[in-house]
Symmetry: D2
Subunit: 366 residues, 4 copies
């Protein structure tokens, strides 16, 4: 007996649209009780007041509650990432794990997950968040049957943020939060979470990590971390994707690291490694085999991309995360030939400054 | 004796930054009295209240006034396009025409220009604007020594827009404007201007053109039109780029048409035709020979890109033009390897719905 | 036996926050089965992509579904108005109608409501929407026991808007919508709805109304109309507030018309008429008797307020409706002494151009 | 011989509009060589990338250069404050000082000014900025002939901000700036400047001031400080308004402190003290005697106004400063009867948290 991962990408018409899910259910393509995680791109601003994430999560949990055991709905990692700038297409990606009679394949996609407890507001953006996440990532790896950190291709994490009310609650207990600025807290929460991933994957030594480095020392990063912050939770939901023991099926995964916002050639190479080799844009038949592309994007802190000035950090009308998502989405979509991809903003310690990790999941040719 | 075009791309640190111009002048790289046009990307929102265009124009005309005859400053076509979303780099591109002793080459870059008179507010977005522009384009072609419209690769135009005050002024005379919405007027002005270009280039028959088609019938378009609207003028400034009689020098030009927001393969082909062939991203040595890339971008009116939903048209926080510029800039920058390119939003009748024309200017290998 | 209206104003911590409702229920202050309508201010942008309205509606209907008969949840008019600019406080106002043994009072608050059927996209912003709404308003008046239109002090309506998909659906049937711009459709839907109210209240004669006047002839308006558009419905939800036959209880209502965005003196007079007379800001004890203030705000189409230029219509970064809500909220809050008031944007044909209707509900002194 | 202050309020049609100035000059109403300061509200976002301030400053200095001695243009304090949210009207207020034969009056308006040297980026938001500003304020008081700090009613200051390039320049010298976030630096620069004012006015003891308090300890503030940050300067321009020795003329000044965003009653009292007593909104004839109203506005850091939640700090689409300006402008405009007033955002240490100082300049009745 092996485990087999299924990944379904479903377009959505609105944040609370589950009609595509209903259709897939009706057609027997999905098995609700096997669902372990749902990643989604929703059409909010991806920042503090992005309520599309909450709306989508509410609709998805309601769907799961109607069609699966309560336990499935409770344990599913629902990671909604707001922000579909440019032509980015709102959609969800559903991860199922089913028991299979097929033989194990060493390069078959493996999925693991874990939840952490709630983080007190004053611990956010600090080493205690790093440790909480590192522990969660290790549990998720174990869940996936992954023993070698090198076999991890993506760790997707949903982490909390600070609101004025949470800061005030901490203050009422005499505790001081790392910032009072909600937007900044999103970045620091993603930063600490990503360093937690780097620690768990052995990319950074925990002992050498200083609290002052969080959100500052960008040369410290994980090449496989993807973190999204949201107001709708206080703990962390963690999903690990890679290759592990005892998995079967045709899905393959690899990853690349973009050195900057338009560094797509490493992604082209990663696609080639999992069977989608192409000089220019992926051909239509290749596109249909690309199940998911998951990427992080951010504005470089230097204010430059390849020596030329960008204005993302000094635009007070549009948050830098929105700029970065739209631009890098254009770069990646022009490579794969469509924009129903997952590009998430705010890549603090997720790949090098201004760049970010990219994971690709592909269905092997029959 | 021939004419020779020089094209200089200069980074800017702010909309009113002329330090790069001063440096080029000091180094003898530019000849102010030969300047015929300046295109620029400035870091405003590219919409109605984008005052960076006015600020840049003011600084540039002041620079010209200090270093060249009054006539040069007056006649220079200064086309500032607001909006440097994503990693788009603010910069200016300077066009000079100098007299040369070199032999004419049939594929050398040719430049022509023309100005039109002021357009009454009530004529904006209507057939009289189409006619005014068509006449201006023909004069600019003549100025460039271009007799065959097929030799035109780009017509860049700066056109006016409606403000509440202009609409009120027209109303006080009993005249009715096509819209009272300033943002919408930008689109209609670009639309009528682009149809004027299409008429001049023989892509559309003037007789078959109905006023109701302006801003509505997107299947009517020019493949070589690029229009930007700005509050700072009432007439039109027109620049034609192509190949004509009596031009010399190493600059080459070609154009492509993107069918949608991520259709970069035609651009790759155009680059190859002028000597920059590349499977993936342009190599660093190729990049240095790419003098300018000028493109239009817009959100498809169908709400879809290759069958997937985009949210640009229903985002009330970020104008669709800003979304489209950032996304398509990402697509094109990932092709050429940097983002100091000219991507302008609002491609009404400029290429097909959701796509747009792209011109590339390249220095021939020595 | 009489009917008695109860109005509860409850602060919310997020769009989906029902904790205040739960507390009121637990304390016996509200009777879920008596709820007929809920008005709310949610913290979205109040424009096309404002999903806070949908999120709040979903949470409220779920609350009603848990605590009242299905019929109550289905029939409740849930009018969420997005946009809490400036210090506007997110909150809901709950309207209950209970049977009472008290004697009828001619000036007691009366409430009526009605729903209309779904409107085809192509009918939006047209005379058929006017007629549909006028009919609905008459039914809501009848429901409230109001026979004289002069006894109506507010008609609150929730109306639909156009999305690219709805426009496309209409086009697929050969039908043409009044606009393809979603933001513009919100204004036209509010406009047609408000003219429908004006027709029902006898403020405008239906025969003299031309379809071309909708969204254009601002001198046509209702002094008691308040319309909000939302993507979450296709028909209309209508609530009438006034004085009618057979109502009891201490709640009083009156209305005023602001002639422009800072015309608060008529509101001061209306407050005085229902017992809250004050030269300056309402005193704290008066504030506690002000149960609800419901107002409309908009940017004047002339670009002027009392002869001075405003920039709301030419700001492409912030929608004019958001500007207008924040500004007029400041004006009204400085009169009543707090900002937990309902100020809704987009007052097309709701009061004069640039102004708007205001209703106040006050608890009579014991 | 005395000095006499003249204050002219002039509407503008765009940031670079000097037509009103030209008209006033032509009519002999203004004397360019007497101009000492110009305050202005321009229609940008008032944040980092607000280029309308630079555009207006450029146009105003050019006007002064054409009509007055170079020294006048150089020394004039040009304080452009971006952001005309809501109905706030773009305008400039011109301050002249002329020699007069009239007798001195102890309550006549007095004006003084000073410039400081450039501030290194790493000093911004720190005690050295506090000290630099305090020294400048004392010099401006001396310039105005004010010896008692109690006679100061307003200190208006224009201060610098940090850009990525300035931070990088400091870093290249091994210096560390207080923040790398440009928007945050605006707040910290205003904060340090305002504490400098408070020190100079004796509201705070310099010895007891800790660097950690800057931008944090909101209970420390000046009741007469108004600070605006802008990218266009590196030093400070300081204007002091009050009453001093040797001034004549009919202009009177007073100030009030708003305790929160809708606390207009103290302003009503200040108006009454200088001759404009009114229960409701100022009457038209009173309005014409109100020469200028200058106020600061900000979102309270507690997330509450009078116990009700506001959402200004968690709105990632609109900066909190824009929200606060629009709302408080509505409150103040509804008091004085028009919106051509100067409301500036970001009131760090300028009045209490969430409130701000307000100065009124009135022409005494003949």
């Amino acid at each position: 007996m092996t485990r087999r991962a299924f990944v379904h990408r479903i377009s959505t018409h609105s944040p609370d649209d589950v009609s595509g899910l209903e259709a897939a259910l009706g057609a027997g393509r999905i098995d609700p009780s096997s669902i372990v995680a749902i990643f989604g791109k929703t059409e909010g601003n991806g920042c503090v007041n992005d309520w599309t994430r909450a709306l989508a999560s509410r609709a998805l949990r309601e769907f799961l509650g109607q069609h699966a055991d309560p336990d499935v709905a409770t344990r599913a990692c629902i990671v909604m990432s707001g922000g579909t700038e440019g032509a980015l297409a709102p959609h969800i990606t559903l991860f199922e794990v089913r028991i299979s009679g097929e033989a194990a394949e060493s390069d078959a996609l493996a999925i693991g997950r874990a939840h952490t407890g709630d983080l007190p507001p004053e611990a956010m953006g600090r080493l205690s968040q790093v440790d909480l996440v590192a522990d969660g990532v290790r549990r998720a790896m174990a869940d996936a049957g992954i023993t070698d950190p090198a076999d991890v291709h993506l760790v997707q994490i949903k982490c909390p943020l600070l609101t004025p009310e949470r800061v005030a609650e901490a203050r009422s207990r005499g505790a001081v939060c790392v910032t009072r600025d909600p937007l900044k807290s999103m970045g620091l929460s993603r930063a600490a979470s990503s360093l937690g991933i780097a620690v768990a994957l052995g990319e950074i030594h925990r002992q050498s990590l200083d609290e002052q480095a969080i959100g500052v020392e960008w040369q410290l990063f994980s090449n496989r971390a993807s973190a999204s912050a949201g107001v709708e939770l206080l703990g962390h939901e963690i999903v690990v994707l890679g290759t592990g023991h005892g998995w079967s099926g045709p899905l393959r995964i690899d990853h690349a690291t973009m050195a900057d916002a338009l560094d797509i050639e490493p992604v082209r190479s990663a696609l080639a490694r999992v069977g989608l080799k192409s000089d220019g844009q992926l051909a239509p038949d290749q596109r249909s085999r690309l199940v998911a592309l998951i990427a992080k994007a951010e504005a470089s802190s230097t204010g430059l991309v390849r020596g030329y000035r960008h204005t993302m950090l000094i635009d007070s009308d549009i948050p830098a995360t929105r700029h970065a998502r739209g631009f890098t989405a254009g770069a990646l979509a022009s490579l794969v030939g469509h924009a129903e991809i997952y590009v998430s903003g705010g890549a603090e310690h997720q790949g090098p400054d201004g760049g970010g990790p990219v994971a690709v999941i592909v269905e092997a040719a029959a």
